[in-house]
Assembly symmetry: C2
Homo-oligomer: 501 residues x 2
């Protein structure tokens, strides 16, 4: 609960005011709830704890909580406490820019910190970032102290814009040893997370009204970076073995792209991976029609079958910008990824990086460097592979056991996303609300399409949930699906028929 209380330090009580203390606390909490700092489904701290935190009588807190309930901000659950029941700014589903906020919230620590097992959201299949319980905090502390003892104040200085040289070297060595990729040192640009990598390539290469192709569905953060460059965005259908080549070629004829954004391995949100044939074809097309490719390798380390290979490995004409995130599996708070930049484009990218934030935190870079050098990264990944493979097996088993027969799904060969398709006409945004009633959260498919069009598909993520909660969560989810199928009046008809919040 330590972290929970952090949220409330913004509430300052004025003990000389005429406004009753319980109203002051109520007002502060309403602000936190409406702004989405505290999100729907979060359990509020126990009465006693809040009373001691604010140094007030327990009755004051009871009254504040009662008023929250009376005004529709919270619900009480017998025997287990009070929960936020108001969907604030961050969990509102609406026009395109807003669900991005939604993603932030779900992809961030915020939810996972507060959602307790006995809380409103008991089964979190929405969160995309791995639960902090898997982070090797002890190793991390040792490494950070070692860095500070070794480098002193220099660990806290500005870093070269292209990155801390020893980290670039340890990344080169790591990529050779773990992924059999030979990356020349001078082609490695350190960036502050994969999102910045995408943003920087967009900055360096997109001109006004340039066309960018993305997979459909795709990661909305990337779409946002392209939109911020005033790009025109075109969706190309995604299939289980990679992008739909017919759709791609048809579009190229009429509207050739400057850039193609892809996640060829365990795609977000589908978990699909490209076949070797499709990779080759994509590279061939990039040469023939002269466009660049951003390859976003968000989680290829987390494989359960054979080790996946990068699209970039096939790139023989400097078309691919490869981005590897170190945040997805490990320590997202460090904000580190790297860009493998074709040499001839390096200066352009370096300038775009410099104008974006000068350099990535030198301290974070030194920490990751030492992690790689001590082989702690490889150790950690192999540990996670075991944990996630078990979760994957549990998910597969539960899907087979509980899902209605006309629901279809795909088993990814790695990562933590499953893409599930409901029967035709049953939209997943409706399922989102229906499942929430059972304490189950998922990511509705519309978030992953640029026009937010209603989708039968949804993303089921096993990043946050424990192995032993999967079966129960999927059983409940299947119940919600069945209930939607059985009650056609609940069926979401389209964008004009969205349930109001």
């Amino acid at each position: 609960m330590e972290g929970v209380m952090d949220k409330f330090v913004s509430i300052h009580l004025n003990r000389t005011s005429d406004i009753p203390l319980y109203i002051q606390i109520y007002n502060g909490m309403v602000q936190l709830i409406e702004s989405g700092v505290i999100t729907c489904g979060q359990q509020l701290p126990p009465i006693r704890r809040m009373a001691s935190f604010f140094d007030v009588n327990t009755v004051t807190i009871v009254n504040a909580y009662k008023k929250l309930q009376a005004d529709g901000y919270a619900k009480s659950k017998i025997g287990s406490g009070t929960y936020v029941s108001f969907i604030g700014k961050k969990t509102h589903l609406g026009e395109f820019d807003v669900p991005i906020e939604n993603m932030i919230s779900s992809d961030s620590a915020a939810e996972s910190v507060y959602v307790k097992k006995d809380g409103f959201i008991k089964f979190d299949f929405a969160g995309a970032s791995i639960s902090p319980k898997y982070f090797p905090v002890k190793d991390f502390k040792e490494v950070i102290n070692e860095v500070l003892d070794r480098d002193g104040g220099y660990a806290l200085e500005y870093q070269e814009s292209s990155g801390y040289q020893p980290l670039r070297e340890s990344i080169r060595d790591f990529m050779k040893a773990q992924h059999n990729l030979d990356i020349p040192l001078e082609e490695i640009q350190i960036v502050s997370g994969a999102q910045q990598g995408i943003d920087i390539v967009a900055k360096a290469f997109l001109n006004y009204k340039d066309v960018v192709y993305v997979e459909a569905p795709t990661y909305p953060g990337a779409v946002n970076a392209f939109k911020s460059r005033n790009a025109r965005i075109v969706e190309i259908n995604m299939q289980e073995d990679g992008v739909d080549l017919d759709d791609l070629k048809k579009n190229i004829m009429s509207n050739p792209p400057r850039l193609f954004y892809t996640m060829p391995v365990f795609q977000n949100p589908t978990g699909y991976s490209y076949s070797i044939e499709k990779k080759k074809e994509l590279i061939a097309l990039s040469k023939e029609y002269d466009f660049y490719i951003i390859e976003d390798d968000h989680i290829s380390d987390l494989y359960y079958d054979e080790k996946p290979s990068a699209l970039k490995a096939l790139d023989d004409s400097d078309k691919v910008f490869y981005i590897k995130s170190f945040s997805k599996l490990f320590l997202p708070g460090l904000r580190i990824a790297f860009l493998w930049v074709p040499r001839r484009h390096f200066d352009k990218i370096a300038l775009a990086k410099y104008s974006s934030d000068i350099s990535t935190s030198g301290l974070s870079q030194r920490i990751l460097d030492l992690f790689l050098r001590k082989s702690l990264w490889a150790e950690h990944v192999s540990h996670l592979q075991k944990i996630f493979y078990k979760k994957w097996q549990e998910t597969v088993k539960s899907l087979e056991k509980y899902m209605p027969s006309d629901v279809s799904y795909f088993y990814p060969k790695g990562g933590h996303f499953f893409w599930i398709n409901l029967p035709q006409g049953i939209y997943s945004t409706n399922l989102y609300y229906e499942a929430l009633k059972n304490g189950v959260s998922i990511m509705p498919g519309e978030l992953f399409f640029i026009e937010q069009r209603p989708s039968e598909g949804f993303r089921l993520s096993i990043a946050q949930i424990s192995e032993w909660d999967i079966e129960e969560g999927i059983a409940l989810l299947a119940e919600s699906i069945q209930s939607l199928i059985d009650n056609p009046h609940k069926v979401f008809q389209g964008p004009n028929d969205r349930p109001l919040l």
Copy 2:
């Protein structure tokens, strides 16, 4: 010397190769020098140390160093060692994009780490970031361990995009207590350093071909962010009491701006500050002609006279985006600043931040938060004020004592930059090379103008130099200036007459 050796880990010896080891080491070092990883003026490590590092005979290192000297990459100084004498990529002065690299190198730790007091550059008046020797590493270590003990894995999770809530609160409280500014919590956006703040405002508000005004001279990093948005940039002359209003108004008539970028307090590079009248006039103009202002508060905490006040304090119509850096005085490696965003623009800025890098390192944010809460920041700033005021006095005294009479300069009321003007027709780029011969480095003025036009002005920074080195450094600099005045054939005539490197 610990950090120095880091540079050489990229040199991998192949002991079974036909290429002699000393040539392999030589080749590796040439690459490091040419790419600017090791920069001109840096002392190379002692022979014995290199020999033990590479596990080779000392003769091997002697031969490698000799070859470096023979080929013009290094110079030996009797009694004090071997120094790099080749100006690599990062210290090359050329077209606009390149000097930015130069700034990176000078503003970064890279130089300061390696330039020893007995080295080639003995008097560093170029570096803009405060020497790491002033960083409170012990306090930092305590704070970081406290954060990790308190928050565990959650300290390493994704953060809310707008920033870690407790940090936003401690910034609000700090700005109230230290700067008497009332900043509503919901108008604070945490960013990864001031450069990102500038870039994000540009991203949110600049459209294709929009006009941006900058002060002349100005900070080139900002210019770069605007260029990356395809903005048209117009320079407005800077005067000792702020921007030249006549020049500003004249330009507004013909070519009104969308955005005006200013550093109203202790400007970089001049040290000039706006008078209250000019601040009021600028605000009035922003209302009348409907343009936005970015106020870059890079170092207002470091004042020697009265406490400066922010332009933003006068903003009564939501025109000013105020950016405060926490990197300039303290821990640049943390990469933290904040943006004070007029409420009505907050969502736009939040989205631009999200699409840039999702969120700023949660660990860095938690560290800065605890620093502010423990009042360590205020303590540190007051300590720095004392140190820098002494350096400032020493600089003023030395300028009076040594500068030729036709050199003019300005005494800033804070910060660490002095702007010095050479006699007409004596360009500071020439002085840069002349002074380097005396082991003195400065920042030539042309770097701070958008067209890189030759300038008689230059920036003298006391960020890196020790109090006791200032007098000698300025005496030597004055000698170089006198030598340029006395030898007109050395005088730089313009862009077509640049000295070749």
